[in-house]
Structures are given as C-alpha cells and as structure tokens.
C-alpha cells in the first residue's frame, strides 16, 4: 500500500500539464509531419502521467485506461506513419505546407 502525498500529487500534475503544453506548442510550431508525430507522442506521455492519481481511486480502471492509451498511441502511430508515406509519395516531401487541400473553406 502506497501513500501519495499532496506535494507528490501536485508535482505529478504540474509536470503532466507542463509536458502537455510543451507538446501543444511543438504541434503548432511543427512544419513537417515527423515533428507532429513526436508532439502527439509527447501528449500521450502527459496523459499517461495524468492518470496516475486514478490508481488510488480505481486501480482496475486505471490499468484499463493505461492499456487503452497504449493501444490508441500505437494505432495513431501507425495511421500517421501511413499518412507520412502517402504524403511523401504524392508530394515528394513531408512538409505541412505541401498539403494544399484542407481547412474550413466552403
């Protein structure tokens, strides 16, 4: 049985929030899909850290959430690598600026 103190909880959630915000900043500043993929993985790392307090409330659910997070991250990695390959084959590059179609124009 492990006790999680208030200071430890504050440190964990603060670190998680910092990593998440840095990942957001990396995502909005990325110019290619590789950096976007890395920022998304950082976001999953922050989520992994944020679910640690759940282990004190419902450990079974916390383990299930951890496994779902791992599966989701793996699937996201696969889909994004496929997108990188397709963009490279079509546009001869992986820069975000090469994607000319998109946005919310009607």
């Amino acid at each position: 049985m492990i006790d999680v103190g208030v200071s430890q909880l504050s440190v964990i959630l603060t670190v998680s929030g910092a990593i998440l915000l840095i990942a957001y900043l990396t995502a909005v500043s990325s110019k290619d899909l590789i950096r976007l993929l890395i920022s998304l993985e950082l976001m999953f790392a922050a989520v992994f850290l944020a679910i640690l307090p759940l282990f004190s409330i419902n450990p079974s659910m916390a383990y299930a959430v951890a496994i779902v997070t791992a599966f989701t991250s793996s699937g996201e990695l696969l889909v994004l690598i496929t997108a990188i390959i397709m963009l490279d084959r079509r546009k001869r590059g992986i820069e975000v600026e090469k994607v000319a179609v998109g946005g919310d124009s009607i």
């Binding site: 492990i2 999680v4 208030v6 504050s10 910092a18 500043s29 950082l42 640690l52 779902v68 793996s74």
Partner: protein
C-alpha cells in the same frame, strides 16, 4: 519534502527538460530521442510509486515499440527544417501553465492511497472483451493503413 517527493520532482524536472529539448531542437532525429527520454522519465515516476505493470507498458510499448519506430522514421526523414515558433503562442502557454500549477496546488487537499495493486492479474478476465475489441480494432486499422499505402501510385 521527503526523499520520495524529491525523486519524483527530479524525474519530473528532467522529463520537462527533455520535452523542452523536443521543442527547441531543429533535428527530427534528436527530437525523437528527447521524446523517448521523456517517456523513460515518466516511467521512472511510475517506478517511484512501485507500479511495475505500468512501467513495463511504458518502457516496452511506448519506448520499446512506438519510440523506436518514431526514431527510425525521424532518422529516415532527418531534414533540418526551420521551426515556425511564434512568440504569440509562447505567452498564452506560460499563462495557462501558471493557472494550472496554481489550481493543482490550491485544490490538492488530502493524501491519496493506492490500494489493491494485484488487480493487473485479473485484467484479462475482467476486461476480456475490451482487450479483444482493441486487438480487433488495431488489426483493422493496420489492414486499412497497409491497403491505403499500397494503393498510392508512385
């Protein structure tokens, strides 16, 4: 501050420093390496709480599989592209981080207690259908991704 809190704080500081390295470096390969280091420090925080199953998940899946694949892809496309960091985004991020940190310190009022750590062995039985569904979903996603990748003309 006891020794456990100090260990967690040091691991957290290194994790944040590694994630800042992801943001600041211009090389995708080094960014992927910094990301893997960040995940290792996240696993270290879990190890400080004696949650070995999650440490195994993070170390094997996140760092061992996802991290290595990301490093390999980043090494393949190791282009030194310039970042488009705008100072306009830095200030809101700092403000939001400050508000979150203040809220965490203000709302944390009592200790948490981790109980019943042996539930991981019951996961394949209690969440059997969830695990089967996730495996099926990942297989379908893999097949769809392979079909899409093969269908693109060179």
């Amino acid at each position: 501050m006891n020794i456990e809190t100090l260990i967690i704080a040091v691991a957290g500081v290194f994790a944040v420093a590694s994630s800042i390295g992801v943001l600041l470096t211009k090389d995708n390969f080094y960014a992927a390496l910094y990301m893997s280091v960040t995940m290792l420090f996240v696993a270290a925080i879990y190890a400080a709480f004696n949650l070995q199953p999650v440490v195994v998940i993070v170390a094997l899946i996140f760092v061992g599989a996802v991290g290595i694949v990301t490093v390999a892809v980043a090494a393949t496309y190791r282009a030194r592209v310039s970042r488009q960091v705008s100072l306009f985004w830095t200030l809101p991020v700092i403000i939001v981080f400050g508000i979150l940190a203040y809220a965490y310190y203000g709302l944390a009022v009592e200790n948490l207690e981790i109980t019943n750590q042996g539930v991981f062995s019951a996961l394949p039985t209690d969440y059997f259908f969830v695990v089967v569904f996730l495996f099926s979903l990942v297989v379908v996603m893999m097949l769809s991704a392979v079909k899409l990748a093969r269908g693109v003309d060179l």
